[in-house]
């Protein structure tokens, strides 16, 4: 009795006599299929297997072990496929832990003894340090000055005002009001040759508000991006505040003695003027 032909084998065996180029053309066609158009995975895997066998026969196959080493070195997520390292003696690990704990305790004890003699509460100092770190934002070594924020102030730019007061700057250039909802996220300061640069960043959801102050010791032009001619010159107590648009944001630029200031962000013209008004108000 003749055997019934295996339909699956017949479907796949049509690939057997094809050349390598024809097989690759088949794979290329499959790879070109648009998203959503399903592949006949059985056929694809069969053709891939066929090519792989032929490569091995010709001695042209790629070394999967070498490729795997390369994969581990350059692509595998960190920590995956870990090498099994010999276990360290437990006693050394304990020593490390003991030393770490002892060092921490000694440091804490030293700090408590030091501040115990002062009038400041130890935990208040930690809170102040934490807030200072938060307020000063990113540490950029070499150029950034340390700010001492006035943590009792509710003013939006308290740190900057505090720095200026410490430098005996009596100039009133810092707004004391920002539109409701804006919260400070970053304050950075840069000490540069011939210039000090301060920058505070607030945000309210996706809306952003920037306030910059540059203290110049030389004459340097500041480039200001803007998409329109001057919108308005708002004058207050002898200072001209130039208001522009920068695409959908507002830019306010003014100079007060050696200070060049910019307010920019997602605020309305009215809010910009309110911020300006708040500079001179007690």
């Amino acid at each position: 009795m003749p055997s019934i032909p295996d339909r699956k084998n017949q479907k796949l065996s049509r690939f057997d006599p094809m050349s390598d180029e024809e097989l690759r053309a088949f794979l290329q066609l499959d790879a070109s299929k648009p998203e959503g158009e399903a592949s006949d995975m059985e056929e694809v895997l069969y053709v891939m297997e066929l090519l792989s066998v032929r490569r091995k026969e010709k001695g042209e196959s790629r070394d999967p072990y070498q490729a795997f080493e390369e994969f581990k070195a350059h692509y595998a997520p960190e920590g995956s496929f870990p090498e099994i390292a010999p276990a360290k003696p437990k006693i050394h690990f304990r020593w490390n832990r003991v030393v770490a704990i002892a060092a921490t305790l000694a440091l804490l004890l030293g700090m408590i003894m030091t501040v115990g003699a002062s009038k400041f509460d130890f935990f208040q100092i930690i809170a102040k340090w934490t807030k200072e770190t938060f307020y000063t934002g990113k540490a950029i070594s070499g150029n950034q000055m340390e700010a001492e924020p006035d943590i009792t102030s509710d003013f939006p730019y308290a740190e900057l005002q505090s720095i200026l007061f410490e430098q005996n700057v009596m100039e009133r250039i810092v707004p004391t009001w920002v539109p409701e909802g804006f919260e400070q996220q970053e304050f950075t300061s840069y000490e540069l040759p011939q210039c000090k640069d301060y920058h505070a960043y607030h945000h309210r959801g996706e809306e952003e508000l920037n306030f910059e102050v540059k203290e110049w010791f030389v004459e340097v032009p500041l480039q200001v991006e803007r998409s329109s001619s001057l919108l308005e010159v708002y004058t207050l107590e002898g200072i001209d505040y130039y208001i522009f648009e920068n695409n959908e944001e507002l830019q306010v630029v003014w100079v007060s003695n050696e200070f060049e200031c910019v307010i920019s962000g997602d605020i309305s013209l009215l809010e910009a003027k309110q911020m300006i008004d708040s500079i001179k108000k007690d």
């Binding site: 934002g137 990113k138 950029i140 070499g142 150029n143 996220q185 970053e186 950075t188 840069y190 540069l192 040759p193 011939q194 210039c195 640069d197 920058h199 960043y201 945000h203 952003e208 920037n210 910059e212 540059k214 110049w216 010791f217 030389v218 004459e219 340097v220 032009p221 500041l222 480039q223 200001v224 991006e225 803007r226 998409s227 329109s228 001619s229 001209d240 130039y242 648009e245 920068n246 695409n247 944001e249 830019q251 630029v253 003014w254 100079v255 007060s256 003695n257 050696e258 060049e260 910019v262 920019s264 962000g265």
Partner: protein, 148 residues
Amino acid sequence: MKYSIKSFFRGVVALCLICILFTPNVAFAAVKPPVEPQASDYLSTYYGYVSKSGNTIQPVFGVSGTGMMENIGAYSIYLYESRDGTNYTLVKTFNYESYSNMMAHNTSSYASYMSYSGNANYTYKAYICVFAGRNGGGDARYFWGYQV
């Protein structure tokens, strides 16, 4: 990725304000008439100049973004030197790939300066490229920073 490409590259916009004071010890910012308005979704303000202290030449730059930027700073600084104040020669190129203090990440502004060992008797200027970018888009500006 969201792209927002709105930039005009005909040149550099220079807009400064003049405030003249007659106090000897106080410096002031200079105003120059605007050349051509340029807008940006990424850059707010920027500046650059060259400071000289003896033989140490320091190109300085500062950039403010319109908000928090993934990358902000100077892409490249070309430092030029002149013996006669008229003819300049390129003496040093700084690029952010080689100098880690040229570019900052995830912040709204950045300023820094480079150092070059030059000659106290020469004049210097720098061609500076500042950049700010986030969410797959960004803006760059080239401008001259002069010796102060």
